[in-house]
């Protein structure tokens, strides 16, 4: 298990505009990739340097200089993962770290799976047995995050497009396979010519996805912000206010759920993906219950929770429940309807919160702002707070979103590669059964973007679309 053959890469610092960023690579061959992208001042290659040394130079992609960096070279076995490791310390900033990560991928690294660095460290004996559980938790939670962000934040109709491409692929593969399994009933002679045109089209579509979607980013990057609160606290009006003023609406997409709308907003340079949720209260109504559960689910994957309280109504059990739920989250509390008679005060909110979460009272001064969405008061204060939190590094994107994006891009490129192989097979006169191999590879790769696995898809397609004999 030691020294995996492939090299994994990921951004290992929070992606925020401040401070420095670190992009890390691990695995046999990491140094080799390092040689390709690192240019030292004296022209010395990384591979000729000693282990556990730091080097000043540049990260380049061919002729392009991406950033001025410090590179740490650490060779197996005394590294975090136990494998050869290259850590690139670059200037912080969203753009730079992403470019560096993508460059590493371009030169042969693979985007790391959730928790993979830690997993490797464990499997290579760098962490002791008692930590196995923690490693497992990390993998599970990060995977859940990646899945959620990938599925709920797939931009616009991309999921649909990918599904359409997959449908087309599986249909034609099933046809070929039916003909092979039942050659006396179904003939596939001359099918290559027809398939050639279809694969060309599919390839165009994938390449279109790759080039037009914001430089290959097919999920929305931004701070995942969830607005919660009791019914009628003013959550939707808050969203409307945030969207309505001078801010640009970048896109609007319906999420996986019809009742939860997600908006992309840029506030003074800070990108937010804002999710409006159903009001949280104890309810017997089944439909409402579903909405409430979804709101709770959404909160789990949020980078930031905005908790809206109607200050004209006393706090109750439901508020306490929400306060409990936001315990582990970065959050902002808004006392809405400040234009009416305020029954709930900042002090009351704070003392309630500390009563529920006593451990927090010593560490945090919790941010509470009075606003009125109706009169548009306090909105500028909210914006300023958000901006400060972001630039102070208190608020950051979850790295998983970036790495998920890079994974998706890699998946699209790999699917395109597979389809090109189909074309090569057709052009070089290979028999039809060879086409299915690469068609199914493309199908599987695309499925990894939409979170679907193959299972019995092909067999089901064969039986449902084509009439087998006997």
């Amino acid at each position: 298990m030691k020294n995996h053959l492939d090299v994994i890469a990921a951004i290992s610092t929070a992606v925020s505009p401040s401070g420095i960023g670190i992009v890390r690579m691990s695995g046999r061959g990491a140094v080799k990739i390092g040689d390709k992208v690192y240019k030292g001042r004296k022209g010395k290659r990384l591979s000729s340097e000693k282990s556990h040394t730091i080097h000043y130079g540049y990260i380049v992609d061919g002729e392009d200089v991406i950033d001025e960096v410090l590179v740490m070279l650490m060779l197996s076995p005394n590294t975090y993962t136990g494998e050869d490791t290259v850590e690139i310390n670059c200037h912080g900033g969203v753009y730079v770290v992403k470019r560096i990560l993508e460059t590493l991928i371009k030169y042969g690294a693979r985007p790391a799976e959730p928790g993979e660095f830690t997993k490797r460290a464990f499997l290579n004996g760098r962490l002791d047995l008692s930590q196995a559980e923690a490693v497992g938790d990390l993998i599970t939670s990060q995977t859940e995050y990646a899945l959620k962000s990938s599925i709920s934040q797939l931009k616009g109709n991309i999921k649909e497009k990918i599904n359409d491409i997959r449908k087309e692929i599986i249909y034609h593969t099933a046809f070929i396979e039916t003909a092979i399994d039942d050659p006396e009933h179904i003939s596939v002679d001359g099918y290559g010519d027809k398939l050639r045109g279809i694969v060309d089209n599919l390839l165009n579509e994938i390449e279109g996805l790759l080039s037009t979607c914001d430089d290959g980013r097919i999920i929305k990057e931004g701070i995942r912000t969830v607005i919660v609160g009791k019914p009628n606290a003013g959550k939707s009006s808050l969203l409307n206010v945030l969207l309505g003023e001078e801010r640009a609406i970048v896109t609007d997409i319906a999420g996986t759920t019809r009742d939860i709308l997600e908006e992309h907003v840029s506030l003074q340079g800070v990108s937010l993906n804002i999710v409006d949720t159903a009001g949280i209260r104890d309810t017997e109504d089944i439909i409402e219950k579903i909405g409430v559960n979804r709101a709770k689910e959404n909160m789990k994957s949020a980078d930031l929770v905005i908790y809206v309280i109607d200050s004209s109504v006393p706090l109750d059990k439901n508020d306490e429940e929400i306060m409990e739920m936001i315990y582990e989250k970065r959050f902002i509390i808004l006392l809405n309807k400040s234009d009416l008679d305020m029954i709930v005060t900042m002090e009351e909110v704070r003392s309630r919160y500390y009563a529920i979460n006593p451990a927090k009272s010593e560490v945090d001064d919790i941010p509470v702002i009075e606003i009125s969405t109706r009169k548009r008061q306090g909105i500028l204060e909210l914006e300023a707070l958000l901006k400060n939190m972001f630039y102070e590094g208190k608020l950051a994107f979850n790295n998983e979103i970036y790495i998920t994006n890079v994974r998706h891009k890699t998946a699209l490129a790999n699917a395109a590669e597979s389809l090109k192989k189909v074309i090569v097979s057709i052009e070089s006169g290979m028999p039809e059964d060879f086409y299915s191999i690469d068609l199914m590879d493309a199908y599987e790769t695309l499925g990894s973007i939409t979170g679907e696995t193959i299972g019995e898809d092909l067999v089901n397609e064969i039986f449902s679309k084509f009439c087998m004999g006997k």
Partner: protein
């Protein structure tokens, strides 16, 4: 007939292994066990129905032909028997890649059964016993014996269940329902209860067969004749190809039409399937004609193959028109088909329902997870087809024997054999219909070809003890010749001589501008190793009996090298996960970060490796990571 527990008596004969059922699975299981030196007894409800082919009159076909060759390479019997009893043979998919070439032979059914029965009768260590087994006896989760209908108890150390479609079997057509097995044979009506008492989960499956008709009533002038191949390939690697070049009989092709479909549609309400009289789940790949007409309503005709059931009979099989419609409707619909206007039905079509198991209760060795010494194979495991049955029977028989030898089970993985794919699918995937082998189920099919089954499996068969030393050494010689010749071909340089250019022109291949290697020329789609013989002066003479086989292997290995290497790489990845074993006593509740769904699934299936776990639906890649971390410490 009544089974009474009051008349218990003990059979004092000594046996090690009992096989229940003498169909295609049972025969292979019993032969393997006996040949490995164990005193074996095989039970059948009727000695006359040993190795019966109650449905289609052929062996092999796409991917099933692969199974037969694999059974043969491991030392099974099916290939040898069909080589002696076929009446027509065809290599299917010849225009496609070598991975999907598949042999299919029309069998003389009666002759096939008789021949297999003789093999059983003459096998040392093997006894045949006609009776119904009613009970499996166990003590502390170990098999100790079985009880037969008369109350007799046979003590054995292992049992292989191969009951096929006989358990609580019921044959249905129209309003008629008979509690019999196939062909009106006696069903086995007690064993299911005993299995349920042992905690075994049962399914009820359904399948069907078309009518058999009198050849004299068919007008062949209205049909297309279907010939066998000019040059016949045998199934068994031990059969001399020279001995199978027989005079073949023909099959005939005709079609249904709108009138046929109209009759079917009008009478659907009389079908037991549509009226709900049949509850069992039928196979999607082998639909009855009424299924096809309903499901593919836009098709205005379906193919119908008229196939002989043997040489010494006038009965013919109507391939493509299985049905459970009432007999009068059967007459009407068959008589709309060109050539069948005056057809006389000998045996009508029917559907059959039977008990089988949820095979996820089995280990990949085909032993029940919770009952030591109890193995099973064939349709009882929820598969369909003679070939699928034979393959499982062979593996179950071998593993029952190995259990008594205290040796590790033989488990073929998905990269080694179609048999591996078949068994892995059966024991890992949820299925609600009889399982049929298909080439699309084999992800590494470029490596799992019918032409190299011997290279893949003979060594295993030799180690098990079912393949002779002589046969194994022949394989080693063949492999050496292939390897040497591939090297030579890769390093043989050919120039653009006049003779060469003429040959290329003859096959429509682009002329050579400069020299190249022989291997490069073989890779051209229009050329082959064989074609280039005339310009290949240094080609060695292989020993006569291996010549064709070596040539074929060299040709395929060179021509498809790129694709083959790619699949080999994928197999390496696959093997890594297969080799990560999960201990049998693992407690999944202790693996904290697994999702609840994954814990439930893993507890239910108890996969033997991370690889097998990865194929269970409901177990995600993240769960596998967590599991690997848990095991990796």
């Amino acid at each position: 007939m009544k089974y009474s527990v009051n008349s218990v008596w003990e059979n004092k004969d000594q046996y090690d292994i009992a096989v229940i059922g003498a169909g295609h699975a049972g025969c292979e299981a019993a032969l393997a066990a006996a040949r490995l030196g164990f005193r074996t007894v095989i039970f059948t409800v009727s000695v006359d129905s040993i190795a019966l082919m109650p449905c289609n009159p052929n062996i092999g076909g796409s991917s099933k032909g692969h199974l037969v060759r694999e059974v043969d390479a491991l030392g099974g019997e099916m290939g040898k028997v069909i080589d002696r009893t076929f009446i027509q043979s065809k290599m299917l998919n010849k225009s496609k890649g070598p991975a999907v070439h598949s042999l299919r032979a029309q069998a003389d059914k009666a002759c096939y059964s008789r021949t297999m029965r003789q093999v059983l009768e003459n096998q040392e260590n093997l006894e045949i016993k006609q009776t119904e087994v009613v009970k499996i006896l166990i003590e502390n989760t170990h098999v100790t014996g079985l009880q037969i209908l008369s109350g007799g108890i046979f003590r054995v150390k292992a049992i292989v269940l191969c009951t096929g479609t006989y358990l609580n079997a019921r044959c249905v057509y129209g309003e008629v329902s008979n509690n019999t097995g196939p062909n009106g044979l006696q069903a086995a009506n007690y064993l299911t209860e005993s299995l349920k008492e042992l905690g075994i989960r049962m399914y009820r499956f359904k399948t069907g067969t078309p009518a058999r008709i009198d050849k004299r009533s068919v007008d062949f002038s209205k049909m297309e004749e279907q010939h066998g191949d000019d040059r016949i390939m045998p199934f068994s690697f031990t059969t001399d190809p020279g001995e199978v070049q027989i005079d073949q009989v023909s099959c005939w092709l005709t079609y249904t039409n709108e009138r046929t479909h109209e009759i079917i549609r009008k009478n659907l309400d009389r079908s037991p399937l549509f009226s709900g009289m049949i509850e069992g789940t039928g196979p999607r790949y082998c639909p009855s004609i009424e299924d096809k007409v309903v499901k593919f309503a836009d098709k205005n005709r379906h193919q119908v193959f008229i196939e002989p059931e043997g040489i010494e009979t006038n009965e013919m099989y109507i391939g493509g028109m299985s049905s459970s419609l009432p007999e009068d409707v059967q007459y009407a619909m068959y008589r709309t088909v060109p050539g069948l206007e005056n057809v006389k039905i000998v045996r009508n079509a029917y559907a059959i329902e039977y008990d089988c198991i949820d095979a996820r209760q089995l280990k990949p060795s085909l032993e029940f997870r919770n009952i030591e010494g109890l193995f099973s194979g064939g349709q009882f495991n929820g598969s369909s087809g003679y070939e699928e049955a034979a393959a499982q029977g062979l593996i179950a028989g071998i593993n029952a024997a190995r259990k008594l030898q205290n040796r590790e089970s033989i488990v073929l993985d998905r990269s080694e054999a179609y048999i591996g794919v078949l068994i892995d699918d059966l024991v890992t995937k949820e299925s609600h219909e009889p399982y049929r082998m298909m080439t699309s189920r084999a992800e590494y099919r470029l490596l799992l070809r019918q032409d190299n089954a011997d290279q893949r499996l003979t060594k295993k068969g030799y180690e098990v003890g079912l393949i002779s030393r002589e046969r194994y050494e022949r394989l080693l010689l063949k492999e050496k010749l292939i390897e040497k010749e591939i090297e030579r071909v890769k390093h043989t340089h050919v120039g653009n001589s006049v003779q060469m250019q003429r040959l290329l022109e003859q096959y429509g291949s682009a002329p050579l501008v400069s020299g190249t290697s022989l291997a490069e020329l073989i890779r051209r789609p229009e050329l082959s190793y064989e074609i280039l013989k005339t310009i290949d002066r240094d080609r060695p003479e292989f020993i006569e009996e291996l010549s064709d086989e070596v040539s074929e292997q060299v040709n395929i290995s060179i021509k498809y090298e790129g694709y083959i290497n790619r699949q080999k790489k994928q197999v390496e990845q696959f093997k890594k996960l297969e080799e990560k074993k999960i201990p049998e006593n693992i407690n999944y509740d202790d693996v904290k970060s697994l999702r609840i769904e994954a814990v439930q699934k893993l507890k239910e299936y108890r996969p033997v490796s991370i690889g097998q776990a990865s194929r269970i639906s409901g177990v995600s890649p993240a769960d596998l990571s967590v599991l690997m971390v848990y095991l990796g410490g």
